[in-house]
């Protein structure tokens, strides 16, 4: 489908969902739930938080969807701002409780064997640890672009920045991630090999 056709299809679906159409709501959920989950996982590194918060985000969507207006931002940008706010709220609660955000031991990744699971967990752990050290804007761009799968234009609208600015932030983030992951990888791989 062309970008225009896709945008029009999404607009019809969102408008129907706003009117309470159950099948449109279900379609919206199917389309966005995995992306919201991945975005939150990228931001928190914890599958349990990602599951709970993704569900909470959709409840918030339900509460706010009637107030959504097309002229302000595309739907994806609006939705991921809600997801971002949910992550921030969760982080505040955790800070208040004194709990640090930890990567969960049991990262549930569909259709993977134990070896793949370990590898994915390590890779995710490396990426997550490296991303944690990035400035907030860079972390946000990485999560929106690579975990949520937003385009540069959608990422820019979500963050309230220009597209050129997002490209610059993305470039800097990848350079830093490369440096940090390059340092972490050999030690992690050694740990993984000896653990097996």
């Amino acid at each position: 489908m062309s970008p225009n056709g896709h945008a029009q299809g999404e607009r019809l679906m969102v408008d129907a969902a706003r009117a309470g159409d159950a099948s449109a709501l279900s379609e919206l959920y199917t389309l966005y739930f995995p992306r919201v989950y991945r975005y939150i996982l990228a931001r928190t590194g914890n599958t349990y938080d990602a599951e709970d918060l993704a569900e909470e985000v959709f409840m918030r969507v339900l509460e706010a969807i009637e107030r959504f207006q097309w002229r302000e931002a595309p739907f994806s940008a609006w939705l991921f701002r809600i997801a971002h706010n949910a992550v921030i709220s969760q982080r505040r609660k955790e800070t208040a409780r004194g709990r640090s955000s930890q990567l969960s031991e049991g990262l549930a990744v569909n259709s993977q064997g134990p070896d793949e699971l370990v590898e994915n967990r390590l890779a995710l752990s490396d990426i997550r640890e490296a991303a944690e050290k990035l400035p907030e804007a860079q972390r946000q761009v990485i999560a929106l672009r690579f975990a949520a799968g937003l385009s540069v234009a959608e990422t820019a609208r979500t963050m309230g920045k220009g597209e050129g600015n997002v490209k610059v932030i993305q470039h800097k983030a990848i350079v830093k991630l490369r440096e940090m992951m390059g340092q972490a990888r050999p030690a992690r791989l050694y740990e993984s090999e000896t653990a097996r």
Binding site: A22, Y29, Y37, F68, S89, Q90, R157
Partner: protein, 293 residues
């Protein structure tokens, strides 16, 4: 031609890869002079994107979330229809009509009480036995009033996104049980009172659905327990409750046979009184839904 900045070239290659338009190799061949600088960055970015892309939510989590999402949507839609069907003057007149009815019942109850007292005095003085078949309307009147007032308070709080305390739900449950035990045979009640009781129970059913699907724990599990009580009362009175588009995944099995509903997903929390569906708190709708940049 003005040389493109590296961040733009990097994004061009990345977008093409993420959208499935070009492979990394194809992109690198388009920018041979930048290959040395571009390739390691693209490999890192692709590793990050692929790693995140492989992390999907477990199927049961996605399905449980969908059920809760759709049920909550259905309850909201229903609640909206119930309130939006009436214009403001109609709401005022409906409120007055209900109050008038209550006043009439209260007057009737007071009349009965006076008559009863007089009869008892006459009976005591004459040493006779009391007549059988006393009306069932009088004892339930204050209980219906209490229930309606509790419901109105809860509607207001639920609609305003204010947290509802589990104690309020427990009180509603207790009042419902008290009403049930004081009503006696539902068929013996006069038509008008029966209609009012049916409305009260149906409204309560919708209200508790709304609360069960929008409030955080421990209120939501309490609301589900109250729903079970409400359904039990409706069944014993033979009242048809409003049909909702889809039943909540974690509604308690109130049939009393102790079996688990078969359609529940394996990871759906147990509907037992000790568990709730969502451990996370639900902020008020206005809190941070992010409607503006």
């Amino acid at each position: 031609m003005k040389a493109r900045r590296l961040d733009e070239v990097l994004d061009d290659c990345l977008s093409a890869y993420l959208e499935g338009r070009r492979s990394i190799e194809e992109s690198l061949s388009l920018y041979p002079s930048l290959r040395h600088e571009l390739e390691p960055l693209l490999r890192t970015a692709v590793e990050v994107a692929d790693t995140f892309g492989e992390s999907s939510p477990p199927d049961h989590v996605e399905e449980r979330g969908r059920q809760e999402f759709l049920t909550s949507a259905s309850v909201r839609q229903r609640a909206k229809l119930v309130t939006s069907d009436l214009t403001f003057p109609q709401r005022v007149s409906e409120f007055a009509r209900r109050r008038r009815w209550l006043l009439m019942v209260v007057a009737f109850a007071v009349g009965l009480a006076v008559a009863g007292t007089v009869a008892a005095k006459l009976e005591t003085s004459s040493g006779g036995t009391s007549p059988e078949g006393a009306s069932v309307a009088s004892p339930i009147t204050p209980v219906v009033g209490n229930l309606r007032s509790a419901q109105q308070q809860l509607w207001r709080r639920a609609n305003q996104g204010v947290d509802v305390s589990p104690e309020m739900i427990r009180a509603l449950s207790r009042t419902t049980s008290a009403l049930d035990s004081q009503t006696g045979r539902f068929a013996d009640i006069d038509d008008q009172a029966r209609v009012e009781l049916e409305r009260t129970i149906a409204d309560q059913y919708l209200l508790l659905h709304l609360i069960a699907n929008t409030q955080p724990a421990p209120t939501a599990p309490e609301a589900r327990r109250a729903l079970a009580v409400t359904q039990q009362v409706a069944r014993s009175w033979g009242i048809d409750l409003p049909q909702l588009a889809s039943a909540p995944a974690s509604l308690p099995d109130s049939s009393g046979d102790g079996r688990e509903p078969t359609e529940r997903s394996p990871m759906t929390p147990s509907p037992s009184p000790e568990t709730g569906t969502s451990p996370t708190e639900m902020p008020s709708p206005e809190a941070d839904t992010g409607t503006s940049p």
